[in-house]
Structures are given as C-alpha cells and as structure tokens.
C-alpha cells in the first residue's frame, strides 16, 4: 500500500528533486575561470623553467643531457659546449629546447637533473595559435625561471629535490684553466 502511494506520487523522485533544489542554497564550489583561479599547491607540475644560482646569477645548467635521457617523451634537446668564464672553463648548454607540445609534464627531468637547474612552475596558461612558439628555447626557459623563481624553488623543495637552503652550491663545475698555455678561446662548435 505504502509502496503504491510511493509509486503514484513519485516519492523517490521528489526526494531527489528536494536534494537537488536544496543545493540552490549551498555555497558555490565552482570557479569562474579565467576571472577566478584555483590556488595551486607547490607540487604543481606546470611549465618547466631553468634556474640560476642565487648568489651570482650564473646559470645552473651544465648541459649534461641527463634530462634529455630521462625524458619519456623525448621532448628535450640539449647542445652543450665549453666556454671560458672569468678564468674558469665551464660546460654550458648552448641550446636548450623543450618541445612543450610533446612534454608530458612528468617531472622526470627535474628529478634527473644533477644540479637542480630545471624546475616546474605553476604556469599552465600558454595556449597559442602558433605551434612553433611552443618550443621553449633556452632564453624563454630562463625567462620563466627568473619570473617564477619562487614557484620553481617551491617546487624543488616540495618534491624533495632541494632543501630550503641552496645545497647545490657546493659543487659548481667550474674548472681552472690550464695555466701553462696562453688561454685561447675555443672555436665555436658547429651545432
């Protein structure tokens, strides 16, 4: 009998409707993107960037290609060379390109980097109608790194890559130049 009434009056449907209507009075949980944005945790894996050392603004990257080897999608390409920098021989990356169209944002490159030169930022809005601009070159990566320095540092700390203090500074891959000879700058490597 009760069941009959339930069937006639669509009781279970009404109950459902009641629940639905009650949500008119619940605070919004949606955000009006792009006017509002979520706050992202430090761990967020966004656009990659290259970092410099804090103390003297020199590039951390030594062009060791380990990120290239670690990358599961093969989107990184590094070309390295040698240069003289204030009397020291330094290996550095002449080119550092990340093809963002291929990048899977797994963060393996950051984990691999032996000098913590790479980090991820919270930047995720770089859609464009020019696909070529999605190949981030060295300049662009440093630009992101300089601009989003705090986020990048936060990422490294959050992912146990670096302590709050800059521990990587102990070892800087700067080698003394051989003094017995007149320093002759290396000829430019053809790329």
């Amino acid at each position: 009998m009760k069941k009959f009434f339930h069937n006639v009056f669509f009781r279970e449907i009404l109950k459902g409707l009641k629940l639905t209507f009650s949500h008119y009075f619940v605070k919004d949980i949606t955000l009006q993107y792009p006017h509002e944005k979520t706050s992202l945790p430090d761990t967020f894996r966004g656009a990659l960037c290259l970092l410099r050392y804090d103390e003297n603004e020199t590039e951390r990257c030594v062009g060791c290609d380990l990120c290239e080897a670690a990358c599961p999608s093969g989107c990184i390409s590094v070309v390295s060379a040698e240069k003289l920098e204030s009397g020291d021989v330094v290996r550095y990356a002449t080119d550092f390109d990340i093809d963002i169209t291929k990048c899977v944002f797994c963060g393996f490159c950051v984990e691999a980097c032996p000098v913590n030169a790479l980090a991820m930022t919270k930047s995720y809005e770089y859609s464009t109608n020019n696909k070529r601009s999605l190949i981030f070159d060295k300049a662009k990566l440093y630009e992101i790194g300089d601009h989003r320095h705090v986020e990048a540092k936060g990422y490294l700390v959050a992912h146990d890559q670096e302590g709050e203090e800059e521990t990587v500074s102990e070892y800087r891959y700067r080698f003394p130049y051989y003094q017995k000879q007149e320093p002759v700058p290396e000829p430019e490597k053809s790329t």
Binding site: N7, F10, E12, I13, K15, G16, L19, T20, I29, T38, L40, P41, T43, F44, R45, L66, A69, A70, C71, P72, S73, V104, F105, C106, G107, F108, E111, A112, P114, V115, N116, M120, Y155, A158, H159, D160, Q161, E162, G163, T167, V168, E170, Y171
Partner: protein, 408 residues
C-alpha cells in the same frame, strides 16, 4: 518489430531494381559519440529496436603503448601508464610498478605499502565516482554527475597536493613512491572521509529507488557467473554475477591483508548489481583508507636498493656513488633479470595485468598489458544480445570502459 515481408510485396519483375527491404538494420554507433567513453565504434545489427548482434570495433585510440615500452626504460614507462586508463592513473602506475617489482624480486618498505594502498583506494573511489556520474548521465540523470564530480574534484585536488597533477600522476615509482604524504594531505583526506558517507547517501537518494534508474539497470545485461568467468571478466563486472574473486583478497598485496574489509557480491549479475557493488566498494575503500591512515607506519617511503631506486637528491650533489647511480638509472635504467613475469592488480575496473618479458636489459623486451576494458569488450556482444538499442549505452557503462586502456 521487423516488418514481415509478404510474397505479395516482392517486386513483380525480376529485372527491375529490387526493393531494398531487409529484416535487419545495421547501425554504426560511434566512434564519435559522447557516450562511447572515448572513441569506440559498435556495429549493431538491429531487428527493430532489438539488438541481434553487436560488434565492437576497437583501435581508434591505439597509440602503440606496448611497443613504446620496448624503447623506454622501466621507469620511463610510468608516465605512459598514466595514459592507459586516463581517469585512474594511480592504479595503472600501481599495477605497473608491482609487475616490475615482481620481475626484479624486490620488496618495498611497509610505509610504502600503506601509502600505496591509501592512494590506490582513493583512486578507486575516484574511479567509481567517475563511473557513477557518467553512467547516470548516460542514462539521463544529470544531477548525479555534478555531485560525483564535485567530490571527485576534492580528491583530485588531493592528488595535486600529493604529486602535482590531477590525472597524469606518475606518483608510484619502482621501489617506492615519488613523494611522502604531507600532513596537509592526511588532514584533507581524513576530512573528506568524514563527510564521504553523507555524500554516498546523496547519490543513493538520487538513484537507489529511482524508478527510471531501476528500469534502466535491473535485468539489463545479465550474465551468469560461469559465463562471466568464461569471458574472463573481472572486477565489479565479475563480482556482480556473484563470483567471489578479488585479487586484493585472493593474492593480497599492499596493505590489504592488514585491514578489515569485505568483498561485496551481487546475485543476479545485472547492471544494477554491478552499480550496487561499486557503491559498496566505495564504502569499503573508505573503510580501508581510514584503517590504513590509522595504522600508517613510519619509515622510509622508498626501498633502499640503490641499483633500482634513484638516490635522494641531496646525496647526488655530494656523493660519488649516488651521482653514478643517478646517471646510470636515468640513462640506462636498472637492469632487470632475464625472464618473464605476469602480475595482475585489482584495479577498480577489474584485473589490470602487466606481462613483461625481460632480456636482462634496461628496457623490457616485450610488455603486454591485460587491460580489463579490452577483455570486457569481448563479452559485449554476448551481454548486449536481445536488449534494446537504448540499452547499448548502459551496457557500455556497466563495464566502466575507458578506451585509452582498451586500445592502448
């Protein structure tokens, strides 16, 4: 119903164009259909509205993941597993790293097992919520979708907090996990679990007695226990038919044998039973998570096997051996012993298995993925036969199919 063709209606002249009348109607469903959960095409043979035969055409989302695995190191394949069942990346990661660990014959610390179990069960809840929302949406109940996705979003935020991405998590690593829980993660998760029961009540309010829901799910796509086993079904699809087979119980892994939980079983093997099982499993998952959080042991979250697990970063900066392991692991990967291994894991869709053949190199010689979605599609024709065309969508849904995993 099919129109009976009487002899009188047949064309009079043999030479003139025959009147094209057939009893059966061939219908292409998909591949671009919103409810095919990816790009699935089904060639349905209809007799009126009744399905006579349905032939799923797979492979629209084939990306050659198995072949790809042969060219990347074991660790590098983890992000690729994210993209199998792309709504439940964590469980794919879990299944994969478990297979590799079995191949390498290594064990992980207890804390890692607990961390993995918790996240896996969170992923199971996410998976079932996702399924519930989309299944209800496919059937016509839109509100459920909003409610489940609201709660799923809370959990995905937890994942972002944990590993930095909502879906492409890559959090599991061979020999451990990428990152330990933070206090914030534990707190947020606990908070979620407190209110989760109420939320399940909300879904129940909307569905459990809803007559449309019942009409669309009760006695639809019935499969008996024997048939289900014969078709190799697994997960809720199998347990809906009353077969008590859950890998977490049968061959326990993670921390599953350290917590109290039950395997819900269906009786009739219809779509409703499978729905009910998923609802129950969510509750069980919540139970497992709660217990795991309570028991969570302290200790390292990565195994101390330098030949497999990359060293902590701060050591790489200072120790020669760590530096070498870092380079060896990221350039050549760890060398797995020669042999082959199959390891199945109970993902929320069913048994997700990885079969790896190793030739003793840093890369798999062959990697085969036993994707539950793919195996379930084998039973599709059998289960859809005799039902109405409108039920086809429900039957897709009842498997919780994701084409990324199915086509690989």
């Amino acid at each position: 119903m099919a129109v009976e063709v009487t002899p009188e209606e047949k064309p009079k002249e043999e030479n003139s164009l025959p009147l094209l009348r057939k009893e059966e109607l061939l219908l292409n469903l998909g591949p671009q259909h919103p409810s095919t959960h990816g790009v699935l095409k089904v060639i349905v043979t209809l007799e009126g509205e009744k399905v006579v035969k349905s032939e799923p055409v797979l492979g629209f989302l084939h990306r050659g993941v198995e072949k790809l695995a042969e060219s990347v190191t074991y660790n590098q394949f983890i992000p690729h597993t994210d993209r199998l069942d792309y709504v439940c990346a964590m469980y794919n990661n879990f299944a994969y790293v478990r297979a590799v660990e079995k191949l390498l014959d290594i064990t992980v610390p207890w804390r890692t097992e607990y961390l993995r179990t918790i996240v896996a069960e969170v992923q199971r809840i996410i998976g079932h919520l996702f399924w519930l929302g989309t299944q209800a949406l496919d059937i016509g109940a839109m509100t459920v979708f909003f409610f489940t996705f609201r709660d799923r979003e809370d959990l995905l935020d937890l994942f972002t907090e944990l590993c930095g991405a909502r879906l492409t998590t890559s959090w599991y690593r061979v020999g451990g996990v990428e990152r330990d829980f933070t206090q914030k993660f534990v707190d947020d998760l606990s908070k979620f679990l407190v209110t989760f029961d109420e939320k399940i009540d909300e879904y129940d309010t909307l569905l459990i007695n809803n007559r449309i829901w019942l009409a669309r799910t009760k006695n639809i796509a019935v499969i008996s226990g024997e048939d289900a086993v014969a078709f190799g079904l697994s997960g809720p699809t199998l347990r809906g038919s009353g077969v008590d087979y859950d890998l977490r119980k049968v061959s326990p892994y993670g921390a599953y044998d350290h917590v109290e939980w039950t395997v819900p079983l269906g009786t009739k093997g219809d779509t409703y039973d499978r729905y009910w099982i998923r609802m129950e499993e969510m509750k069980e998952s919540a139970k497992i998570i709660k217990q795991c959080l309570a028991q969570l042991p302290s200790g390292p979250f990565k195994a101390d096997i330098p030949q497999v697990v990359a060293p902590p970063k701060e050591q790489v900066f200072t120790d020669m051996d760590s530096m070498i392991y870092q380079f060896k692991l990221y350039t050549q990967g760890f060398k797995a012993p020669k042999g082959d291994i199959y390891c199945g894991t109970e993902a929320h869709k069913g048994e997700l298995g990885f079969y790896i053949v190793s030739q003793g190199e840093g890369k798999p010689y062959r990697l085969k993925i036993r994707a539950p979605s793919f195996v379930h599609m084998g039973a599709f024709d059998f289960m859809a036969k005799g039902y109405m065309i409108a039920d086809i969508i429900t039957i897709f849904g009842t498997y919780d199919i994701v084409m990324g995993e199915c086509d690989r």
